[in-house]
Point group: C2
Chain length 583, copies 2
């Protein structure tokens, strides 16, 4: 039902807060026409998985199916006992969600599936292992079973055959390792949390895996400036907890936070959920310590907001995916922890309304807007089907998640209330719910953050991560649905609308060269036609290295190759990644 | 008088807005103990320069000199007729303020004052001039008189002897010029607004000056995303005006805005007055077009917020001062124009209180804080003496300028009011004034922005631009006053406290090698001892190239030299700048 048919709202309609006595749980908000509509019955969220049927509609919409929907209830239908179905899964990949059930067939070797040839690196000898054992006593892993997981990427479509994994604790150890590998012409695959989407973090052949997992110490934190200095292997979620206890937050947040390492985040220039507010890591990372290919330690680990003493070398390593050097420590500026966080989850009748909601929201929420995410109806269906998360709002063609973060709860609520009133009154939004309580905020975020996981459970996933002009963002999804027809299981679009970043995903029962042929290079050509980017935030890794030319001119690719040759003349750092394979 | 002796404020004291009827001018705010203090008489700002005496104290402080200062009047003492004395000076250097009166002695040639040897570049021949005339018809300047100004830096302490200035209009022309210069081994000095502080924008010998002045077209502006694409020679203030008419602002602002070019801003990684809020150009610049030393045009001029397709090459050129390539076009993200801007100008009793005011302010103003600047009492005396700008508040050891920018005037005023009430009540602040009206906001900003100009009129200036841990920021000023005694005319400290950025300036009647010897390397060693930066935002240019080692390790300096050799193997781009002179 389109809200456009309904009379515009009047000032008599008010946003009201619920402290618990009204029947809604504390921390949720609800819209109602004050004094005019009777109190609405609440339906508790079922604690088990919902039946396999169409998503439920919101309570008021269900109650009044044939009347104009004057004031849909903004009901948060979460219940305390529902944490199991909303929360994170438990297990080794819990923090990102496990993408494959036990008993899945083994992932094919990358070298067998893809046309790639091993470069003439040395192979690891017994003498090398002995040298590594001297450098990192107790940190040399050669047990084939222990090497299975780090050889396979998170999407389980790439597999290397590395026979040794090293676990240094310090940058000096990394330096000694690289000096040895450089002398011996041994290839090295740096690995953080191994949560990447483009195969940048797993070996292609037998590269030595250099894990940052044991480099997980916070080195300093300045309680006035919020500047955190830590080793590269610190897990993002743990850093978040650390700085939040000190009234700051990390400037980035992403679905993989429970596993990913800050060093990997910086090496891949991770974007994520706070990008809209706090910007790129090129702005928030203040300093890096990097070990170069020959073992040289490059200490640019300053904790200064401004430093114009020569070229800003650290920038070279942000987003270079471990191909120019291995990041061993990071200095990063953390914003103050907002005193109030609100999340609104809204249903929109069309993509035009999503865009209009974004424009309106930017104007009305201004400096407190901290995220503007969107997902289409198919995403919601998959999240429901595979993860048993029910939509908290009426079924809609599109959903939007808006987060505000500010220093004054009252002011923020007032701004958000006015915006929501406007969005509802003008028909931009059909239905919605809002949460201020931290647990419920997380539940709403889970709907958006766990789409990746739901897709992985839907079958083989063809993933595209595009930057596009915002007004054309969804056209490629519609285009592909028509193009692929029944050959695809699902074609979905979601992502960081505020950043012009679309996650375009196509699922199928299994990998199929013909489906791939229908997708590529079409998707890349379409993106290039819009002056978009074929990799917005996921990076290049192994998967995207031969499509850079769709977004970068030959002069840029040539300069990248020259930089690689300058910094890693033997090419031992993360080979077969990031740069196009050379003829 | 320290406010700490006074009882803490109660809620009965309120901040009230003045719409004009209260006797204050519209757009100003005033504190008063509501219903308890009588209305205060107002003193209009005199339209001429103030008499040469101690700065005036605020009205209430003058009325009640012997009583505890319970509620000083927050009076803005500006008057409409005062624009001449507060506003910008008129003339060729108006936008930054002219630092030398007519009749000043000629600036000595750099090559005569400093130990620097010309590198073996070719000299410009008649054939070269003819070739340039073919490339940029009508854009070849060889008139000695017209070449005087572009050969001298803004501080008038460096002078080159270039005999030709080129004024291309397009990147293609720049490309043809550089291709010719590269082939002929001719050195090139890129020049924007020539407002730099470190001699990066003027030739040292006879380098060809390549001016971006005629590359001043806006190429596109996206009204939803706020992404501006323009040529490098656009003047910052003109871009500000352009985007403000479209409800956005530039993410940077600086005193030199009336002259400086956006290309120069990016090339020098300018910081400035909005850095605290909108961060570094490394985050806000989305794309660049750069012409490399051999004339290759590197087109990285994307307008995407996210683009992880390979190494982020544009970062190399941000802050490299034209030594790696010449920036010809810029794509930059402009934040939405705030609907409300408030500026408070406060007097603090000591530097400890300045720091405490900053911490308090960050917590209480949160996301609306857009600038936190400070200046010491001597700065205010010089601004008054040389520019005839009177202090709007009671004489204080330190002054703080706080700017808020937000989307809701009422909310912002409430936040700022609470903060000011707290700051005053707890003795952090002695006296203050506040403005919301744009003209008065500019007047308050002029006090801070025009310090550089006042210093230039005070004599020869030894300038240092340091990043330091905020708690040690002022120690070096105190240290130097004791160290230099009467050998210095004035030692002042001011700057961007919110960014940990101190502008330390020492004035003397004339340049003196002995005073220089007392300052250097002491200032640099002291800074290095604090792990600070010897150039926070001004860059390196000609002046600072041999002190980089105080802030960067040898491995970093070596990599910088390697990058220079890679991108400009003949070293023709802005020679004698940025990198240490090689033995």
């Amino acid at each position: 039902m389109r809200r456009r048919d309904v009379a515009p709202p009047t000032r008599a309609r008010r946003l009201w807060a619920c402290g618990g006595s009204c029947g809604l749980e504390p921390g949720t908000w609800s819209w109602a026409r004050s004094q005019r509509l009777p109190a609405l019955p609440l339906r508790a969220l079922s604690t088990g998985p919902p039946p396999e049927e169409e998503p439920e509609v919101s309570v008021l919409a269900a109650m009044l199916p044939r009347r104009p929907l004057a004031w849909p209830a903004w009901l948060f239908r979460g219940a305390p006992g529902a944490a199991g179905s909303w929360g994170r899964p438990v297990g080794p990949l819990a923090s990102r969600g496990c993408c494959s059930a036990p008993g899945n067939p083994e992932v094919p070797l990358t070298r067998e599936r893809y046309p790639v040839r091993r470069l003439p690196f040395s192979t690891v000898s017994k003498q090398d292992l002995a040298a590594f054992e001297r450098i990192v006593p107790g940190g040399v892993v050669t047990d084939p079973e222990a090497l299975q997981a780090p050889n396979v990427d998170w999407l389980r479509t790439l597999r290397g055959c590395s026979k040794v994994l090293l676990r240094p604790r310090t940058s000096e150890e990394v330096s000694h390792i690289l000096r040895h590998c450089h002398e011996r012409n041994l290839a090295v695959n740096p690995q953080g949390g191994n949560t990447g989407m483009v195969g940048g973090s797993v070996p292609v052949f037998d590269e030595i895996i250099l894990s940052t997992a044991r480099m997980n110490r916070v080195l300093s934190f300045h309680s006035v400036s919020g500047i955190l200095v830590c080793q590269a292997g610190c897990i993002l979620e743990e850093l978040s907890r650390y700085v939040e206890e000190r009234d700051f937050i990390m400037p980035l947040d992403l679905g993989a936070k429970g596993s990913c390492h800050i060093g990997g985040n910086v090496a891949t220039n991770a974007g994520g959920l706070r990008f809209l507010r706090y910007g790129s890591l090129h702005g928030t990372v203040l300093g890096l310590e990097v070990v170069l290919a020959d073992g040289t330690v490059l200490d640019c680990l300053t904790s200064l907001r401004k430093d114009n003493t020569g070229y800003d070398l650290k920038q070279l390593f942000i987003g270079s995916e471990g191909t120019l050097g291995i990041i061993t420590a990071v200095s990063i500026l953390c914003p103050p922890k907002p005193r109030a966080v609100n999340v609104a989850f809204l249903g929109c009748p069309g993509f035009a309304e999503v865009l209009q909601t974004f424009s309106t929201c930017k104007g009305m929420l201004g400096e407190i807007l901290s995220a503007f995410e969107f997902m289409d109806a198919v995403c919601m269906q998959l999240v429901r089907r595979h993860l048993h998360l029910a939509s908290p709002v009426q079924e809609s063609p599109f959903y939007v998640l808006i987060e505000t973060s500010g220093s004054n709860a009252g002011h923020d609520a007032e701004k958000l209330g006015r915006f929501l009133e406007h969005a509802l009154g003008s028909g931009l939004v059909i239905d919605g719910t809002m949460a201020t309580d931290q647990r419920k905020v997380k539940m709403l975020w889970a709907l958006r953050e766990r789409i990746t996981e739901a897709l992985s459970r839907d079958g083989y996933v063809y993933k595209y991560d595009l930057s596009l002009p915002v007004e054309r963002l969804y056209d490629i999804v519609t285009d592909l649905r028509a193009r692929l027809g029944p050959h695809a299981k699902h074609v979905v679009g979601y992502g960081h609308l505020g950043d012009g970043n679309l996650h375009l995903n196509v699922t199928a029962e299994a990998f199929s060269p013909s489906l791939l042929g229908a997708l590529e290079p079409h998707v890349y050509e379409w993106t290039a036609g819009q002056q978009g980017s074929v990799s917005a935030e996921h990076g290049v890794g192994f998967r995207k290295r031969n499509v850079l030319g769709y977004s970068k001119p030959p002069e840029a690719l040539q300069l990248m190759q020259q930089l690689k040759a300058l910094l890693d003349p033997k090419g031992i750092l993360n080979p077969y990644k990031t740069l196009p394979s050379q003829a």
